[in-house]
Subunit: 266 residues, 2 copies
Amino acid sequence: MTITHPPTPGSALWLYAHPRHGSFNHRLFQEGATALGERYSVATSDLHAQGFDPVLGLRDLGDLAATPGNLAEQAGDAYLRGQAAADVLEEQAKLADAELLVIQFPLWWYGMPAILKGWFDRVLTSGFAYGDVDPELGVPRRYGDGGLTGRRALIVVTAGEDERSIGPRGISGDLDALLFPLTHGVLWYVGIDVLDVHVIHDADALDTEAVEREITRLRERLRAIDEEAVQPFRRLRDGDYAGTRALRPELLPGRTDLRIHLDSGE
Amino acid sequence: MTITHPPTPGSALWLYAHPRHGSFNHRLFQEGATALGERYSVATSDLHAQGFDPVLGLRDLGDLAATPGNLAEQAGDAYLRGQAAADVLEEQAKLADAELLVIQFPLWWYGMPAILKGWFDRVLTSGFAYGDVDPELGVPRRYGDGGLTGRRALIVVTAGEDERSIGPRGISGDLDALLFPLTHGVLWYVGIDVLDVHVIHDADALDTEAVEREITRLRERLRAIDEEAVQPFRRLRDGDYAGTRALRPELLPGRTDLRIHLDSGE
């Protein structure tokens, strides 16, 4: 079976995870979706407003709930047999339609809020988002070549810390490294190209003027988003990984940081 | 106000996040907690069995639910005024009591399942776990010096991939880097020392013999856990970070990988 979900050109999904109506995040969501609406048809998933349940559990496994086995495989089986949960099917349909995905959240404990993490846990099932093997190459169609290719994603994140604290040598770790499980481990895994993260630093300490400046900055970025280059993560099928597992020793020898997974022409 | 929660000597908390009774993870949980019980008084939090709700939301803010402001601060205010949710108070009490914390989960999308991420989002409130300023040094009591010092944590994680895929140059990123938001960003932030991660690779493909071998390996590790050295993360108050934000340029110059936050005597 070949997994492919060609997106609808001009279609976008704005995935949003902040609990408070009227918050700065909520304004970014509203103004951002409006600005994007000038060029895209924008669907939204406001996870808190929807009351989305992020806990992947036995009810996601259909008939296999009581059968021993691997959960991710069983959730994929349930999807293929039409037994995925209704709320998951709804989110999958929005994602399948979108060629641009915006993922907006406040950085909580240096990662996604649980409600957003669980959206990925439940929505990106095997069979829908990954799991196929390339018939010619015989390698799994993941990392640049999954079920959701032909899409781009923009992460919009608000952080309480400044650019030094979450910069390359910042005490809290570089933001690109903190988000690697999402950018590379989730998005790139299922074939979605990732744009540079849009971060708003010191988000809890912005005065009125700074809020307006940040909203303008996001609007302007969104208006030119189609012209942006994506992060050059290495594609599994290109053969940079020995046995599809570890980066070949002759590429960037000795280095073990996460930026080795970018093919930056070094 | 000084936050301190001295642990009860000999007390442990096993925090567990897998949905299926009878799974390999469930066996690790049961056998591990039993082995630990030989030397510790072990409380457990079986998050799926408890039906723990991981979504931090307005009900965590007490009277401040309708007041504009920073969510983390408001959750901390709610805690200090005795308005934290009952399930959060219960988990905080177990954590406050424990001098050893075991955190066991399957690696889902290269991170914690949502139900576990949300445990940290909701339970580690300001006022309980962090937020104080050192009266002598004038720096925030975080990163090695928070409200939960005097504790050690062991992460037990099952992964579907092998040690090359999640090793130092593995395609999915090194496991220590993938878990940095948890080890350093959560645990060390609130003062908890972190032991080397206990990982079970290829966890979906173990035969009966390999399962028994892994259970024995975990039991043996737990029996000698008190003798283990902790990861030498840098302590904020020790001054390695300029302005408390970025690692001083003279320390490991030029490096930007996450291991710079370990004081390994290099």
